[in-house]
Amino acid sequence: MVARFADLEERARAANASGRLTTELLGITMENPVIPASGTFGYGYEFAELYDIDLLGSFSFKGTTRDPRFGNETPRIAEAPSGLLNAVGLQNPGVEKVISQELPRLATCFSKKVMANVSGFSIADYVYTCEKLDGEEQVGWLEVNISCPNVHGGGMSFGTDPQAAAEVTRAVKAVTKKPVLVKLTPNVTDITAIARACEEAGADGLALINTVLAMRFDLKTRKPLLANTTGGLSGPAIFPLAVRLVNQVKKAVDIPVVGIGGITTAADVLEMLMAGATAVEVGAANLVDPYACLKIIADLPTVMDQYGIKTLAEIAGGAAWN
């Protein structure tokens, strides 16, 4: 059933129209910096039932791989204080079906440029999938995920070694004209080494952080709660960690950073921009409140007023402090 909440939409629309939230990310101008993160927004359809998702800056659709994937067995979800663990394992129909079925349907509810999140198990995988998505008009950016903690033999293993991260980045850049953001994992000793390696290999921007590798046990069964045993922690629990890593990375590189990790409110967005982010992705919040991103956009002008911020450009990219 279609249910729209006119007031929230109106406020978000007015916020966009004010021009105060205007954000440029790698040559693409967005009405606001709010981007639902990959894996928390599907292809947008479920949210489009609730509100006009064209009010978003953009969104990053479900991580795509070369071949279809079921992902991990269930349980894939476990709760945490102020967050959740997930071990979905990159379930997706594969790039061919994403292009033939999901993107045409996505275009019926979203008219702006969308971010394509890509994962792989080898450099050839990343290249194959990115090359296919490079041909899609609506894809504005490629977000190369070298940081999924829930798959074996690929995913995060590229994101924990500077040389491997650089190789993926270089290979992908060679097959696409679209701006490439490399999505980094926090599960490393020194994230700046990985960030710099990606920048040197030609990354146009960086997106961080992916989830934090975590684990929970079931006291009744005395076994891990997740079938995959470990999963990625997201939600407000990781927000301060993400703010610190974004700030560290921003100081280490000269390319734009998209801040991700536990963002839930308009105030969180401002904090992440002050730390060094140019735009933000909102993940877990979408799962517990399907209106989370719309509320953030609608609330931004009021919260900006509260702190004397006229436009986001004043603070974005850590302009006010570094």
């Binding site: 249910a3 599907g42 609730l50 269930t74 967050g83 379930q91 979408n286 399907p290």
Partner: protein, 278 residues
């Protein structure tokens, strides 16, 4: 899917660890435009959209202090009183909190989730099988099937006498009700499948026109085997740990018979027998 702010009317213990939660769809019905439940304006029944709730669907309750919502099946919806009844089992800390919530408290609820039972498949003599926490959704299904002119046979399974709930409520609807307990302390001894009437000879048709089943996985698998043997068609509601409950996170996917996958929350929780790979 809709987000509603509903007031607790009743939250009572039916059996050890099993509670009935009655939510008022009128008094606190609001819109998602307000970020806090307290600020939710009063709304009309029509604006609530509760009337669109179908048997077999579920709601997802936000619990103060817990990050994830808790998905709970719909036990009943009363259009006249505009009340939503949920029966839940305390299985962890979240449902433990819930059992302590008092009438008057307002809950943030996502309603109308999942596909629900396809009642058009029922035929004249549907068989309804509920086991433990799988009993509640059968109540609304039975009520609606009777309203549509069917004569449901209801089999409710529990482990032991003290766990039994809702037998009288089902009888009051006018259903033929059998209760089974695994230890034989109440009703017929055994599992729900032991109380199902089977065709006497091979080739004879099942006395039922269709089945609807909800309960623990071993029970559903046993029903699947029985239904295959008897040539009986039907549907199962599945349970899975969920992230969002509305199809966004892929946290609750199950394998399907065609080699693909479906989301329990959005494509289910009700699956036709032929969709499952058992």
């Amino acid at each position: 899917m809709k987000q509603e702010f509903l007031t607790i009317q009743e939250n009572t213990c039916l059996a050890p660890g099993v509670y009935r939660l009655v939510l008022d769809g009128v008094s606190a019905c609001g819109t998602a435009a307000s970020s806090s439940a307290e600020a939710a304006p009063a709304g009309t029944a029509a604006a609530c959209g509760l009337a669109a709730i179908r048997p077999g669907q579920f709601v997802n309750l936000a619990l103060p202090g817990r990050y994830l919502r808790r998905p709970i099946s719909v036990c009943d919806y009363d259009a006249e009183k505009e009340t939503l009844t949920l029966i839940y089992k305390v299985v962890g800390a979240g449902t433990g909190d819930l059992s302590g919530f008092r009438p008057g408290m307002v809950l943030d609820v996502l309603t109308g989730l999942g596909n629900g039972y396809d009642l058009a498949c029922s035929g004249p003599k549907p068989l309804l099988l509920g086991g433990g926490a799988g009993v509640p959704p059968m109540y609304y299904a039975a009520k609606e099937l009777i309203r549509l002119g069917a004569e449901p046979t209801v089999i409710l399974g529990f482990n032991t006498r003290s766990e039994v709930f809702y037998e009288e409520e089902f009888r009051a609807l006018g259903c033929a009700v059998t209760v089974t307990t695994v230890d034989g302390s109440y009703g017929a001894k055994g599992f729900v499948t032991d109380a199902v009437q089977r065709p006497e000879t091979a080739g004879e048709a099942s006395p039922y026109s269709y089945f609807y089943a909800c309960g623990p996985l071993p029970m559903l698998e046993a029903i699947y085997r029985l239904a295959m043997a008897d040539g009986l068609d039907g549907a199962f509601s599945l349970e899975e740990r969920m992230g969002c409950g509305f199809g966004a996170c892929m946290g609750c996917s199950v394998h399907t018979a065609d080699g693909g996958y479906k989301r329990v929350c959005k494509d289910g929780p009700v699956f036709r027998k032929e969709e499952l790979p058992w």
